[in-house]
């Protein structure tokens, strides 16, 4: 077992001029001054090359951790995983397993277990032989093969299926066998590429729990690639969020949820999504307010931003539906009419229209029922009210 490290990894599809220039120009060192290199790369890249699929990606996954790489399609997450596995060449940078650089190692020598979303089991072989396949290919003695398969089978809950053929298995069972096949080699690193996305909701939840428990038991360094934020949140010790080939944030589920570094992360994590709206800042002489321009709704700016934003500024406001609160007793709360009230059983959702096709949504477990048009008084939970730069999208910090 070992940790996994990405060190300034780039991936560009197709051999390009940029590559050749880099190869020729040894004075450019990647690790020392990223900024200069970036500028050079960009200057050359803009005229000749496709953008980077993975763009200066650095990440450290300590031994035994479960790391989720999360992002929309095309963000470079699967490419990153495939570079670890050796299925893609690394354009620039290093990938380390333990303290060994694996860039030029053959995939089979990297000591990796791999499970893709489509299970790719060998149809003529039964479950036992499928799990044993790679061990036998390595000429492991048969009694050792048997010992390993039989030891892992109950953990993966496939012990009753060992004689079955893949065709007779459900999707969830196939994926268990698939993961067992990856784990039986006792790899340094386990790579999971969207392992749950073919499964229906119920099975997905069950297998999620099983994967977490197995990880807790054997503590194999695991990297999960997914576009499903719920999956990443529920499984990972830490989540790396990617967009356009670049790492946006790396943190625990609670960190990325509570303290998103930019608008992209804020909007990507959480369901229902965070309310994000472009607002103005106005001042009535005593207090500062967020102003939703289309409807003239004003909500007080938390004190922690007193030195961050001023009247006349425009920012992107971010507040989660659970942090918009109804408070009839606060004299400074904004009185607003309800546009939509939804009773979803466990919770109620209330939406306020703040612009065309733009709503401020709040979620409450309060049993009270409302009708459209009813007026409520709103405040934001101040510690959980975020603001972002309207141009860069970066979070603007207040004084805590």
């Amino acid at each position: 077992m070992a940790g996994l490290t990405f060190r300034n990894v780039y991936k560009q599809y197709g051999r390009t001029k940029v590559q050749q220039i880099f190869d020729a120009d040894k004075s450019v060192t990647l690790d020392r001054d990223r900024r200069d290199v970036d500028a050079t790369v960009r200057r050359v890249a803009s005229s000749t090359a496709a953008p980077y699929a993975v763009d200066n990606f650095s990440l450290e996954c300590p031994n035994g951790t479960f790391v989720g790489i999360l992002g929309p399609s095309g963000c470079g997450k699967t490419t990153s995983l495939r570079m670890v596995a050796g299925l893609e060449e690394i354009t620039r940078g290093d990938i380390l397993i333990g303290d060994r650089v694996v860039n030029n190692l053959h995939p089979k020598d990297r000591d990796i277990g791999l499970a893709f979303e489509d299970y790719a089991l060998y149809p003529p072989l039964n479950v036992f032989d499928n799990i044993a396949f790679n061990l036998r290919a390595k000429k492991m003695p048969e009694d050792e093969v048997r010992r390993r398969v039989l030891e892992l089978a109950p953990l993966m809950k496939v012990e009753d299926l060992l004689d079955a053929k893949p065709a007779g298995l459900s999707g969830g069972q196939k994926q268990r066998v698939n993961i067992a096949r990856a784990l039986v080699r006792q790899p340094s690193v386990l790579l999971l590429d969207e392992p749950l996305s073919h499964l229906d909701g119920k099975m997905r939840q069950i297998l999620r729990t099983e994967i977490k428990r197995i990880h807790n038991r054997i503590k194999c360094t695991t990297v999960l690639v997914t576009h499903d934020q719920l999956e990443a949140m529920s499984l990972s010790d830490r989540i790396a969020i990617m967009k356009d080939g670049r790492l946006q944030q790396f943190g625990t589920p609670l960190e990325v949820y509570d303290n998103p570094v930019n608008v992209f992360v804020a909007g990507f994590i959480g369901e229902p999504p965070m309310n994000l709206a472009r607002v103005g800042i106005v001042d009535d002489g005593r207090d500062r307010f967020f102003l939703f321009p289309a409807k003239g709704i004003r909500i007080r700016v938390p004190g922690k931003y007193a030195a961050s934003v001023f009247a006349g500024d425009e920012v992107i406001l971010g507040v989660r539906p659970t942090d918009v609160l109804i408070n009839p007793d606060d004299p400074k709360a904004a009185a607003v009419p309800i546009a939509v009230f939804e009773n979803l059983g466990d919770e109620k959702r209330i939406s306020i229209e703040v612009g065309p096709e733009e709503y401020l949504t709040l979620v409450t477990e309060d049993e009270k029922r409302y009708r459209p048009g009813d007026e409520i008084k709103l405040v934001f939970r101040e510690t959980k009210t975020h603001i972002f730069d309207k141009i860069t999208g970066d979070r603007i910090l207040g004084k805590e």
Binding site: K202, T209, L235
Partner: protein
């Protein structure tokens, strides 16, 4: 403007019974949701009403007219497709006008202009008439597609999972949009979905369909607070309701639910209204106890009336965490705060609140009752 009645509709595809003698009455101007898992028969009902699928037996009425033999084009129903299927090369105006330019329903251009203006006002898209669909936001596309359906003043509006193909974020916004426009339809609407939150949010009433038969037809409150059986209970809510074996017992004249925990049984006295009713139906029998995750409390120390277990899994999902507790016999999914941090397999004690227990018959899964049933379902 019409009510819709299905009488004993059956339909088979080969040996598969898609619909099995279903009866249904949708009231005039009602927003009615057909809800169920894939393959339940939801879309077949929709197609039967539209007239693109013929029932093997049974009657379809729109208003008081039997329409079994009426051509789909003459039924005056309007179907909204997944993806909304706007004509990409036509401006919004022409997209909305298109039904009135079909050979069958051709109207004069003056009348078309009047109707398009009416509908686009209703949908709040009057300022977009000159745009192409590619120049519209998702919400504007939805409004245009709905406008195109409303322009014919249909008797019935049929919607087949219009939001199913959207990603989670957009679906949330579009559902809010749809709900905001709902009152503007003013038309009998039948909406098919497999998403319980859409069903609860949008439906005046919800019909839950399973293998070609209705399990329950009722309001959102009825299916949530008083599901007629375990099947319905499991369909509504996320995470899924916990349903476990239990026993009805008499302790000093009081009706209690006994739940096994290893060697012992923990007892939960039922509130009088439901306890009295079940007591009369006989104690000592086996039942099934259903409890939603939000109605389970937990502690990391032993407490009276709490079931002993251990932490089986803890999944942070944003604003909360799902804590799965394993007792000797069962797994329970409960809701915990998102900053809870605990090692797997730590001992934990849990309390299913008897006021929120849903009780089912052990033999057939039929709903036996709950506390405050009449108040919660609005049938007091």
């Amino acid at each position: 403007m019409a009510q819709i009645t299905l009488e004993k509709i059956s339909k088979s595809f080969g040996s598969v019974k898609a619909l099995d003698a279903v009866d249904l009455e949708v009231k005039d101007k009602e927003f009615f949701v057909l809800f169920g898992p894939a393959g339940a028969g939801k879309t077949t009902i929709l197609k039967t009403i539209a007239g693109v699928e013929f029932p093997d037996s049974g009657l379809v009425r729109i208003g008081d007219r039997i329409v079994n033999l009426i051509d789909p084009a003459l039924r005056n129903v309007s179907m909204v497709f997944e993806n909304y299927a706007l004509y990409p090369h036509m401006k919004v105006y022409d997209n909305i006008a298109s039904p009135m330019r079909s050979p069958l329903h051709r109207k004069s251009e003056a009348e078309i202009a009047r109707e398009v203006a009416r509908v686009s006002d209703l949908m709040g898209i009057s300022q977009l008439m000159e745009r192409l669909p590619s120049q519209l936001s998702n919400g504007q596309r939805q409004r245009t597609a709905l406008g195109r359906c409303l322009v014919r003043r249909p008797n019935v509006f049929l919607m087949d999972e219009p939001l199913a193909h959207l990603d989670a974020k957009l679906r949330h916004l579009m559902r809010t949009e749809l709900k905001a426009m709902q009152t503007a339809f003013d038309t009998t609407t039948i909406y098919v979905t497999h998403d319980y939150s859409e069903a609860l949010s949008l439906g005046d009433r919800i019909a839950i369909l399973n293998r070609g038969k209705f399990e329950q037809i009722g309001t959102g409150d009825e299916v949530y607070y008083a599901p007629v059986n375990e099947f319905v209970a499991r369909l509504v809510g996320e995470p899924e309701i916990n349903i476990v074996d239990a026993e009805l017992q008499d302790v000093a004249g009081e009706c209690r639910v006994g739940i096994r925990a290893g060697a012992s049984i923990v007892h939960y006295p039922l509130p009088d209204d439901i306890g009295g009713k079940l007591h009369a139906s006989g104690v000592g029998r086996r039942i099934r106890m259903g409890i939603r995750g939000v109605n389970i409390a937990y502690k990391f120390e032993k407490a009276e009336g709490y079931l002993p277990g251990s932490v089986y899994n803890l999944e942070p999902i944003g604003n909360k965490s799902i804590l799965t507790i394993k007792t000797d016999e069962n797994l329970f999914q409960t809701i915990a705060s998102n900053d809870l941090s605990v090692e797997l397999d730590t001992p934990v004690w849990m309390y299913p609140d008897p006021k929120n227990m849903l009780l089912f018959d052990a033999a057939d899964g039929r709903f036996l009752g709950r506390h405050h049933q009449a108040q919660l379902t609005g049938r007091a």
